[in-house]
Amino acid sequence: MKRLLFLVALIGFVTPAPVGAGENGSKILQNRCAKCHDLTGPAPQTIRKLWERDAPDLFYAGNKFRREWLVEWLQKPVRVRPAGVNYLRTINSAPVRDAEEKDKNYDVLYGAVLRPLKHLSLKPAEAEATADALMDLKAHSDLVAGMQLDRNKKVDLDRGEVLFDKVYGCLSCHQIEPGFGGYTGSELYTAGRRLQPAFMLSYIKRPKNWDPKIWMPNGNVKPDDLQKIVNYLILLSKEDFNAAN
């Protein structure tokens, strides 16, 4: 009898509890994510509040992310924002001279953003459950409701880059391949895999609808160009960048 009890106890100990039975996705969000991420909103309404933000807001995650990307990323997190979520904390206050470009003394990144992202990694079942819980966070559904990607408004990578850089200047803040472009925006070479097309359309159209004080301007992108830029980002995300995987 004792041996049987021991066996039962042992099986109970070594068998991982199914996620649904223990910590489900919502509980993981509450217990492990809510300390840094805002799961309820609203987004910061003043600059001072913006500067206090420690991690990306997640209260509209279900209208923002693609679930497949979340599942992958939660198991293997990599940095999406080269200058972190709050670039004021990560730039050097004493610009240094760049040996290769003699006449340039520009602001540089320093600190934690120069090292790989520190973020908890989830096990596969946890990542699936958490992605499900994130996809249930649906604030701002009104902002994506009318947004439909027109896949006929295609551009090739070269024309897309012209729109992205020369016409609207997005490259100033966003990278379109690892290390090429600006730093204060999120990298966009994985955006097509990371983000829902309707979210990209809506966010580019008017960033402050999602995040009232964010440092991305409304570039008054024409409707046709908006479609082309999102199609370009989706095309770009199919390129094979080492850092993207």
Partner: protein, 121 residues
């Protein structure tokens, strides 16, 4: 007369109660640090974090000669409508959806402090 005073007092209370609902105006310094600094730099010299791969370099706001060549109206316009509006680079985006006109006017004054200059010298 007493009624008038009471009316003014009540109006004052109503304005006081409604004021948090109005869009809060940010200071020029906070706006500059949040939106302009990413390209124009912590020192305002145009050497911001983002500039390495830019085809046109951002304006050095401490350059009295260059800044003195622009009227306040031109500076207002370029902030609100972007570089394209005054035939300069599109890399300067339009900020009219981010700042109120009052905030842009405050930024123009802030820039005049940075360059220690005014139009024409």
């Amino acid at each position: 007369m007493q009624n008038n005073s009471m009316g003014v007092f009540l109006l004052f209370i109503v304005v006081l109660l409604l004021s948090p609902l109005a869009e809060a105006s940010e200071t020029a310094k906070d706006n500059y640090r949040t939106y302009c600094m990413q390209c124009h730099g912590m020192q305002g010299t145009g050497m911001g974090l983002n500039i390495r791969d830019m085809s046109v370099q951002p304006r050095d706001h401490t350059d009295a000669k260059a800044m003195g060549g622009r009227t306040d109206d031109e500076i207002f316009k370029v902030i609100k409508e972007g570089g394209f509006a005054i035939s300069k680079s599109v890399l300067m985006p339009p900020w009219g959806d981010v700042f109120t006109d009052d905030e842009i006017n405050d930024l123009v004054k802030y820039l005049r402090d940075l360059c220690k200059c005014k139009f024409g010298g």
